[in-house]
Subunit: 354 residues, 4 copies
């Protein structure tokens, strides 16, 4: 329940940053599907650390081991177990944090909620968990091969890139380290990150996700609206503080006459302020949604905080961390989007008469 | 599953705008609780139509009938069934819509998904369903009596009101028709709505929700992060297109050194950019989140759209509708917030040793 | 959760014996299905009281009101709400039970668990709840029209009827009041009940359920084995104390060489000791399972028991009750079987590749 | 969903007999509990093969590896991942079964349902999965330390042992290979098994489970009745064909006046025909239930069956198998009982006022 995502397709995960392993069980996966392990590897390598100067130098060689549910390369219809052993952990790096609550981390809330916490690398709160999601998302994507999911960085600190349906070349996302489809903006973004890094600081930004070739009819009308399922999944990503779809917050400035998406003869809408969803159900237009990521909490500066005796202490910045999570968050957004859409796709299979 | 909200506390709803009744089953409610029916009535009357010139004149006398689970005014621990009969429906008002897909409504997606749809009043897509949520939220609130939930309108079209933790008087929310705690801003907002209404148009805006007196420890670390549960609930509200918590989208412009919330000796944080949640779990600070509402789809202007034969047709604006959903959405946000927090509160009861 | 049955098709119920109403929400029902309301009425009339001298004279005119999810006689894909108002309750009949715990009733356990209980007619523990199941089962049956479900009374106290696949005429089940397909055995059974009734006593017995025309592939291999889902559903029926499928308890006396069901060229098995299920999944042979029902707890004799002050008291037998629940349990078994099979049928729709 | 057991405490499993590993995720386990790994080892060793001449000589050295959710020997409140690598598999033993459907096995149903199946060792249908349940049950038991669960073999083929609440010494269960608390009966049972084995045949029997020191109040009144949850769990055990609680099938011969359990001044009942549950909720008396196990399907005799071309073929008996599953099923029944009771115990924590 608490560590499970999805309704028909269901991922249940486990694992701490510096424990034995992370992993999960992917359940509800239909039988007879040729699995795409290359896609899993590809997406994992997009998520992994040490790709560039923008990401932490902590090296994670994420080797997935599939444990069940697969026979001669095909899904058997049974639960797919998988795991990634943790290696290259340096637990001693965390001994100075045993009694200290880092600002804007989960240290305090975990300790208060559970009365116990694995201090090494943030334990269960570590973004290492997102590896599980990338694996599950890459497997799930195989069930909706025609749908094209493209996430990219559209903003870093004060540098903005505006997506344009007609001119943005989504094939260029991976052509630079920040994963922005515009080469010039990418350079500016990278410069902003490097400046912050040099100053021992971190930055946030925005990821935009565009989904093309959407089928009509995904999403359920009330408590499983497609946008609600997406919002829930996205807000589970570490550091994500906001979600908007279609016109989002800007749309609150518009009049209804301007905002309404008129239907055209070819069953497309003239505009797409709805972001591809109406009444909780996909209408066949592109999904377009945006996610706000706060700047990384771990910084290389001294900060004031308290310890578990409520004493104010100074916390020195050290360790290996990303000054900006955005480029590595892109494949995570892709994965969760794939997962949610596949789940809704499977659900849609049982909603009409046979 | 598809019409259920919540994990431990679970609401399952039914009903169409112009059907026999709407209602629900509230399950998982602990036994022996004196229920507060006045609170239910109060919240329903905040949601109902015809309160002012800002809302539709369609009159709904929402009379809740509780059907089970209550004995001598107390919960019995069994499922609480309730219903509200639909009255004052004018189904004939909708005959001209039988074959037409209104722009930015659920007409097209429902028809495509199900191959059948109740055209009267939007059927299941009607905001009438939110009545069920208000009832459930008001009942649930009784389980977390100390938590103070205050939603209010913080923006209408171009008129913004900025919430300030120290100066905003949350007791003034209901002192005006728009439900903004600032009297002057409220007047401006009302003027904006009336202008739009006069022009046969509609406007959107933003609702801010502030939750005070939060216990520490609500929310689950991975797929039931408190912000994820809230986002999911809020994105189920008709016309809601965005959710942000704490610093939200603005926070993407900040540096980590500025954004981090330093812990202080009294176990509060100096700033609250996190919006009261860290690692998915409440940290005892106020929850502060904001919701984007698009302008109402139904407008009193002629629009171009298609019918179910893919022919372009002109759709005349008529009927009784809200030019702005915000004031009536305020109690809905309150209710869903209460529901989610109660659900997480009950879940927290079983997370530590006994 | 606690008042819900089913995985894909989900029934959530509410209601107490002497409360306002009983009812439920049937969710996950596919769209576009012409519903069979006559079947609902027919099954309800099989379940109702006052059919013969074998059942309680308390008259229940169960009038179902469908509240949602239906448009022009077809399912819309939305949750189907329904309710049956309670009428003809005589609550005063129960005042003498307010502080007394009847032997083998739920009085004591409810009071201890919840600290509060609706004493009138057993409250939520009343078999009146089974009305909801009959309604849901009859609706669900429409989704698996080819499957033939036939429950019947195969034993009353010491009178046994042995089902024989070849000679038993299942069309005769409703030809007598006890619902045994054999007229002679039926007479003996009825005589046994009437004797017990005259003596102010009650009897139990066995219901056998035979399901013909089963598709291959219903049931999930581990925790949703078809027999496990059936057992769970059947053990929810009031007074049911046992479940066996195929060879059941008698099969424990057999050798493997005798018990194994050999496959034949036409893909049937020579014997059917498995009762139609292998590895948790239907194999196309008839399902055959049997349910033990204890004698009704309410008897017309004076019994010794305690009250809520732990004082021993004498409890007089009075009121209107069934001396034998079996004939009225038959449609309940039919309904739950239909519900479980439909749920598993829907689940099977998403288990293989598309 | 499909591979998950439990409501509040939730076990999700994976694994095939001859795949890489079996394992699971135990979720909803409260934080701060000192785990009892010795108990896990002890129960696993009771379940393992090669304990005596009664069980298969296939040697499984089940080494559990705990992967997460544990810190310094205590639960952290996060999901507990675990796995057992498969070793000592002889897949080549199964090549002759690739196209053949063994009688009373899952071969046919798996192939038909999924269109694909892992033929080696029965794949997911293997009783090897029960290892996962034993691990989870042993961990869960730690949360209900005072409850005493004692399963034992009460019948093998035609040899019956009758449990007597007063005279049966439950401490003797493990004193013999068949796990019957009566030494003489145990010898007879073992003789029956050895005779069948010598004849290349297999036998079935009955396991009785007695639970002492039960708290009052476990179980939910309608669809999560304690007996229904137990029945469901037990019917998931391979070869289990029947479940009865309290008086069970024999109780159908009794009169109500005889069957009713009279309450006594000390809040116990004079008799316990109810088997410790009334209205779905435990009443504090011992739980007593019985499970029917059919004789093992795999026998050392030649059998007639069909292959996947619907041709009749002769199937020779070979391989290493148990002539009787009962002694190894005892710890599985213990484990599932512990799991269900713990789940219901956690659920009961949120059912009354705070």
């Amino acid at each position: 329940m608490y560590n499970s995502l999805g309704n028909i397709l269901r991922l249940t995960t486990f694992g701490e940053s510096h424990g034995v392993a992370i992993g999960g069980v992917l359940d509800g996966f239909p039988a007879g599907v040729v699995l795409d392990f290359d896609e899993v590897e590809k997406q994992l390598s997009r998520r992994k650390t040490g790709q560039s100067s923008l990401t932490t130098s902590r090296k994670e060689d994420d080797e997935v081991e599939f444990l069940s549910g697969i026979y001669e390369g095909k899904s058997t219809g049974h639960s797919i177990g998988f795991m990634v052993r943790n290696t290259n952990q340096k637990s001693e790096e965390y001994t100075h944090l045993e009694h200290v609550y880092r600002p804007s981390h989960a240290d305090f809330t975990y300790q208060e909620k559970y009365g116990i916490r694995d201090v090494r690398g943030g334990g269960r709160a570590s973004a290492r968990e997102t590896t599980n999601w990338v694996i599950a998302g890459a497997l799930a994507k195989r069930l909706i091969p025609d749908i094209q999911i493209s996430s990219f960085v559209s903003s870093v600190e004060h540098v903005d890139f505006h997506y344009d349906e007609n001119s943005t070349d989504l094939s260029q996302i991976d052509s630079n380290h920040i994963r922005c489809p515009d080469a010039d903006k990418a350079k500016e973004m990278i410069a902003a990150i490097e400046k912050a890094k040099m100053e021992g600081d971190s930055v946030g930004g925005i990821i935009t996700c565009v989904v093309k070739n959407m089928p009509i009819g995904l999403g359920e009308p009330i408590f499983h609206k497609l946008e609600a399922e997406l919002a829930k999944a996205m807000l589970t990503i570490n550091a994500c503080k906001g979600f908007e779809i279609g016109s989002g917050f800007d749309g609150t400035r518009m009049r209804g006459s301007e905002h309404n998406d008129s239907w055209q003869q070819d069953r497309t809408t003239k505009t797409n302020h709805s972001g591809g969803i109406q009444g909780g159900i996909s209408n066949g237009m592109d999904l377009v949604f945006r996610l706000a990521f706060k700047p990384t909490s771990t910084i290389m500066q001294t900060q004031s905080t308290i310890n578990d005796k409520n004493e104010v202490v100074e916390l020195e910045g050290k360790g290996r961390h990303d000054p900006c999570v955005l480029p590595r968050a892109v494949p995570i957004v892709d994965a969760l989007t794939a997962f949610v859409l596949t789940d809704m796709f499977l659900m849609s299979k049982i909603r009409t008469n046979f």
